[in-house]
């Protein structure tokens, strides 16, 4: 079951808000719960905030508003069925047509079932890029393709990033050498294109 607010993380906290006798139920992940708490704190006066942080009960401006909080795991029996139904629904989300691995299965284990999963879940893997990998594109070698034969464009991109890194590290000599290399590669590229156009005529 996912968080009602962000829809990204599994919900861990259920909040029941009773306003004028009407009951509103929300399920939040710990992160959104924390953010919500901070928002509530932001609306308080400094004295109230201090009291809240220290865990001292204060009379709120809206006494009819009460917030009950409980761990989702401890929910009553009668709610479980509904819970499971929703989970099944989620299981039926995107599924790799080749190996049958579902995206929610991947979210649980962190492991993909076959090479085609990368295509089946491409959008999702890109939209929620892995923390460490940050939605980057492959810049390295391709099969049977040594470094020298890497796409010219990728090579230029790589050199450009290396140049930025060199500047950051104040290695200006290296940065200048890289800049010259990039220029030479781009000129060669333009020359190639022109040759191609002439050939077409």
């Amino acid at each position: 079951m996912m968080c009602d607010e962000c829809g990204k993380n599994p919900a861990t906290v259920r909040i029941i808000t009773v306003t004028d006798g009407a009951k509103v139920e929300e399920k939040l992940c710990s992160e959104c719960w924390r953010r919500r708490n901070l928002q509530v704190l932001g609306q308080l006066s400094p004295g109230e905030m201090l009291a809240k942080l220290l865990g001292i009960e204060v009379e709120m401006d809206e006494p009819e508003l009460s917030v009950e909080m409980e761990e989702v795991e401890d929910e009553p029996e009668w709610e479980r069925d509904w819970e499971e139904e929703e989970e099944e629904e989620e299981e039926s989300g995107p599924v790799c047509p080749k190996c049958g691995t579902s995206y929610s299965e991947f979210r649980r284990t962190g492991m993909l079932g076959c090479a085609d999963c990368y295509i089946a879940f491409e959008k999702l893997l890109e939209d929620q890029p892995h923390a460490a990998q940050g939605g980057a594109l492959h810049m390295g070698r391709a099969p049977e393709q040594p470094a020298e034969e890497m796409d010219a464009q990728r090579r230029v991109d790589t050199l450009r990033r290396q140049m930025v890194a060199a500047i950051k590290m104040e290695d200006f000599e290296r940065a200048a050498a890289l800049r010259d290399e990039i220029k030479a590669m781009e000129l060669a590229d333009i020359a190639n294109e022109m040759k191609g156009e002439q050939g077409d005529e």
Binding site: G100, M111, C114, A115, Q133, H138, M139
Partner: protein, 330 residues
């Protein structure tokens, strides 16, 4: 990149490169059937046939034998725990191809000292040989496809094993490690669980495998290792300048215990060997780093039992450990 093996100042004990690869036409490990493991093993063995590799199938090895291989850093626990997996090991044990771990293949090359470039060449040569036989799963956007997207792209994990004795003595290991960008590098103790690095031996490796070229990753890890080594060298210098005689006395007393103790626990062995390494680096004792490295592995519980030829209770183990150390250093 700085490539060197510096016997007089061996802070970098070894360089390791690991490439994760999967065959395009076989499902990944969560969906693999026993027959798929067989195909992975047969294919790879056939590709490396004639290159003097020995095949060790996990199913044919007792748990104690798998433990020994883990202690020698030849396989990871993930492989030891499967019965379907296998290991292809070359003659000088510099290249280990783990089969049927999380990924179909993990090609691992290890060389002494700081020589990531040479280790990479070694691993890539083996990887190309296997690739020629049958293609690996690859995608232009994601690079080499791996079971965990965390490893995709280059599939490359490069690491340097570092001995940080002086930083440890000064209580500065944590501070130096924390100074490295956390999103780029991982540092863990090679022996001992968690952050409690037994023997003051740490492994520094890259986290990010996608969006960088192989050369950039090697250079990043090499530079980070250089940075940590610079701190360790400074710490050694500081210890020497502070009170050289006291440091030498401490190291030589520790070495005396290695030479004469009757009982050596694993933890004590690791600590004393760490001091001995530093003593050898400072030219105080005439022992090679390789000797100390092999004692470090021989003293591990499963390897020790293999040497003894039978199971050892803890106390017998401590006796045996003291004996093999004295035999080796006498």
């Amino acid at each position: 990149m700085n490539e060197r093996v510096d016997p007089m100042n061996s802070i970098a004990l070894s360089s390791q490169v690991r490439l994760a690869r999967n065959f395009a036409d076989i499902p990944f490990s969560p969906r693999m059937q026993p027959a798929d493991y067989e195909r992975v093993i047969e294919r790879t063995e056939a590709a490396l046939c004639g290159e003097h590799y020995t095949l060790k199938r996990m199913a044919q090895l007792r748990w104690s034998a798998r433990e020994c291989m883990m202690e020698a850093q030849l396989i990871r626990p993930e492989l030891a725990q499967t019965d379907e997996g296998a290991l292809l090991l070359n003659e000088d044990k510099t290249v280990a191809v783990m089969l049927g771990e999380e990924d179909h293949l993990r090609v691992q090359a290890v060389l002494p000292g700081l020589q990531l470039g040479a280790a990479m060449q070694l691993a890539e040569r083996v990887e190309h040989t296997i690739e020629r036989e049958r293609g690996f799963a690859f995608d232009r956007r994601w690079g080499y496809l791996t079971v965990r997207p965390d490893d995709a792209g280059t599939g490359l994990h490069a690491s340097v094993t570092l001995h940080l004795a002086a930083l440890y003595m000064l209580g500065r290991v944590d501070r130096v490690i924390r100074a490295l960008p956390k999103k780029d590098f991982e540092v863990r103790g090679v022996y001992g669980a968690g952050n409690d690095a037994c023997g003051q031996i740490y492994q520094l490796s890259n986290r990010v495998t996608l969006g960088r070229t192989e050369e950039e990753i090697l250079e990043m890890v090499g530079q980070a290792a250089d940075e940590v080594m610079k701190h360790e060298r400074a710490a050694r210098q500081a210890l020497l300048e502070n009170d050289r005689l006291k440091l030498e006395d401490k190291l030589m007393r520790s070495y005396g215990i290695l030479l004469h103790a009757r009982l050596l626990s694993l933890n004590e062995l690791m600590d004393r060997l760490s001091s001995a390494r530093l003593a050898a680096d400072l030219g105080l004792i005439d022992v090679t780093q390789a000797q100390l490295s092999s004692l470090m592995i021989d003293g591990q519980p499963a390897t020790l039992e293999r040497i003894a030829g039978h199971r050892l209770e803890q106390r017998d183990g401590d006796v045996m450990r003291a004996q093999i150390v004295q035999r080796a250093l006498a």
